[in-house]
């Protein structure tokens, strides 16, 4: 159970995240939606402490995450893996080494500095890659892969951390619809089969509706919606997305709660075709 209590990140002029309180039970798949600049990324970065909060508290299973420093902080990061919009792999290293980087939190520093990993770890890495259908490319340099392939390698790296929580920051924003579907399905599988909590930032409402148990809508740093996909009304969605409403595909939303995901031409075709 991840408990977020009044968490804030204020810069001098902007309130990136403003007084956010949430409880995320273990094993949930949570989609965070909102327009660009709503604070979705900052919220995820506050959770794994890539950014430090200016106020509020964050705890996981009773451990105060905001107070962690040094080794304990790195252990925490290792327990909540993150994947990024731009994949953030080491381009010049091969795929398998990139995946093994997920073990940095589990290994003594010196052995990782010479890139020495055990046979068991290599086996684990190949299994993770195999799960994502990327084991054939294990010895290729990361930079030779397509965007969708790189994101799957990034997910394999995250799996190597044996995380409790997987944070995904706009994981499909740079991908074509087909690859986006594969990545979202991989995240869903990991959530269901491994019981890992997944928190995923998404721009599109229909993707969130399709894959997530719970949707959190953010606007101007605050949580403005927290519930199931079917409880989201058009007026609420408009509040979340503002000017970007049409872009996010909520124009057809009725003003009463909807019970099924809204079929949206581009994304729906991609899902059906996969």
């Amino acid at each position: 159970m991840l408990k977020i209590d009044g968490l804030s990140k204020h810069y001098s002029t902007v309130k990136a995240v403003d007084d956010v309180s949430l409880e995320i039970p273990t094993g949930q798949m949570v989609g965070i939606i909102g327009r660009s600049g709503a604070g979705k990324s900052t919220l995820l970065r506050l959770i794994n402490r890539l950014a430090d909060p200016t106020g509020g508290a964050l705890s996981c299973d009773g451990v105060d995450v905001t107070a962690l420093t040094g080794r304990d902080l790195r252990q925490w990061r290792s327990r909540c893996a993150m994947i990024f919009q731009q994949f953030n792999l080491v381009n010049r290293l091969d795929v398998i080494t990139n995946v093994l980087i997920g073990r940095v939190g589990h290994r003594p520093t010196l052995s990782t500095l010479v890139k020495k990993f055990t046979v068991a770890e290599r086996a684990l890495a190949i299994q993770a890659l195999h799960r994502l259908d990327m084991d054939v490319q294990a010895l290729q340099r990361a930079e030779t892969l397509s965007g969708g392939q790189q994101q799957r390698v990034a997910i394999a790296r995250a799996l190597m951390q044996e995380p409790q929580i997987l944070l995904a920051d706009e994981p499909i924003a740079s991908l074509d619809p087909r690859n986006a579907t594969r990545v979202m399905e991989a995240l869903q599988t990991i959530n269901r089969e491994d019981g890992i909590t997944v928190m995923v930032n998404l721009h599109h409402l229909d993707t969130a509706q399709e894959y997530c148990d719970r949707i959190i809508g953010m606007a101007a740093g605050r949580v403005v919606f927290d519930g199931q996909a079917k409880d989201l009304t058009a007026s609420l969605a408009r509040e979340i997305y503002g000017q970007e409403s049409e872009d996010a595909g909520i124009a057809e939303l009725p003003d009463i709660p909807v019970s099924a995901p809204i079929p949206k031409p581009a994304a729906a075709v991609a899902v059906a075709g996969a």
């Binding site: 794994n48 890539l50 080794r71 790195r74 252990q75 925490w76 990061r77 290792s78 327990r79 893996a81 993150m82 990024f84 731009q86 994949f87 953030n88 792999l89 080491v90 381009n91 010049r92 290293l93 980087i101 997920g102 940095v104 939190g105 520093t109 990782t112 500095l113 890139k115 930079e143 990034a154 790296r157 995250a158 951390q161």
Partner: protein, 298 residues
């Protein structure tokens, strides 16, 4: 259907073009006045330097014959009927000079190597994007500045005074200066790395050393190698010169023959140095181009 239909809004397009042309003209004008200012400043500095440097065309012209006389005096007569014997006499101490030249290259190599290691120690602490502590950055940057601000020749004199004549002070002098010069270049390379990669390793729970090793070094290594090789080229020349103050190698011998007015030995040695430096330059350049990444990814 043929051709491309440009669907421009009918009313405002004329304004847009006029606006653009007006802005463009304003930009060009602003740029031109800056260019004129810089040209004027450059001219002023040039004239000032000529006056201070006592550059005088007349002196220059008078001196040219002397310059060529010195060069021609140092070249021995080589007759067509005894080329081999003449060259052999010119290069009478060839094996010894070759050994000294080898010493010089070794001094340069060792100095570059130690300097590169020193630069590696300081460059990460001297990169804005890799250290959070302001004073660690400040100290690392100032240390590399001090190391490179003093010329090798001055370091060589100090080290000769401390350790006596021979190659050791030469190696140390080159090492210190190279550590400073490369430290700055390496740090600048580090500051251009893709921080997304750094964040990827940090988010996996990596500590500072793991971030450097796994996220930074793979990105920067080709540039490091390229810069270190360039430094080696420069250091071979420096190593030849610092011998003048007694720091070993061929320079020490060159200084000796210049002082003794053994003209033909001077030309023999200088020619050997030029050939060696050129050979090393050429091979280093070939090698360097292999390390420069084919495409710099952002």
């Amino acid at each position: 259907m043929s051709g491309i239909v440009v669907s421009a809004p009918p009313i405002s397009s004329g304004d847009a073009v006029a606006d653009f042309e007006r802005n463009r003209l304003a930009l060009i004008r602003a740029r031109r006045s800056k260019e004129i200012l810089f040209a004027f400043l450059f001219a002023a500095m040039f004239v000032f330097s000529v006056i201070v440097g006592e550059v005088n065309i007349a002196t220059l012209v008078e001196g040219v014959p002397g310059f060529f006389n010195y060069i021609s005096d140092t070249i021995p007569p080589i007759r067509a009927d005894s080329v081999v014997a003449d060259v052999r006499e010119w290069y009478w101490a060839f094996p010894k000079w070759l050994m000294l030249l080898f010493d010089t290259v070794v001094i340069a190599f060792l100095g570059t190597f130690i300097g590169t290691v020193g630069a590696l120690v300081f460059c990460f602490a001297g990169s804005r994007n890799l250290v959070s502590s302001g004073w660690v950055y400040f100290i690392a940057r100032r240390l590399t500045e001090i190391a490179r601000a003093v010329p090798e020749l001055v370091y060589a004199m100090i080290f000769v005074f401390a350790f006596g004549l021979g190659p050791l002070p030469g190696v140390l002098a080159i090492a210190v200066h190279s550590a400073g010069a490369l430290g700055k270049l390496f740090a600048e390379v580090n500051e251009n790395v893709d921080m997304g990669t750094v964040e990827g390793v940090r988010a996996s729970g990596g500590n500072w050393f793991q971030i450097i090793r796994l996220a930074v070094i793979p990105q920067v290594l080709p540039n490091y190698l390229s810069y270190a090789l360039l430094r080696f080229e420069i250091n071979v020349r420096s190593a030849a010169v610092i011998g003048f103050v007694g720091a070993g190698g061929v320079g020490q011998e060159l200084m000796f023959v210049i002082r003794q007015f053994v003209y033909t030995d001077v030309s023999a040695l200088v020619l050997m140095i030029i050939v060696t430096v050129s050979l090393i330059d050429m091979s280093c350049e070939k090698l360097r181009h292999r390390f420069i990444p084919e495409q710099q990814t952002a």
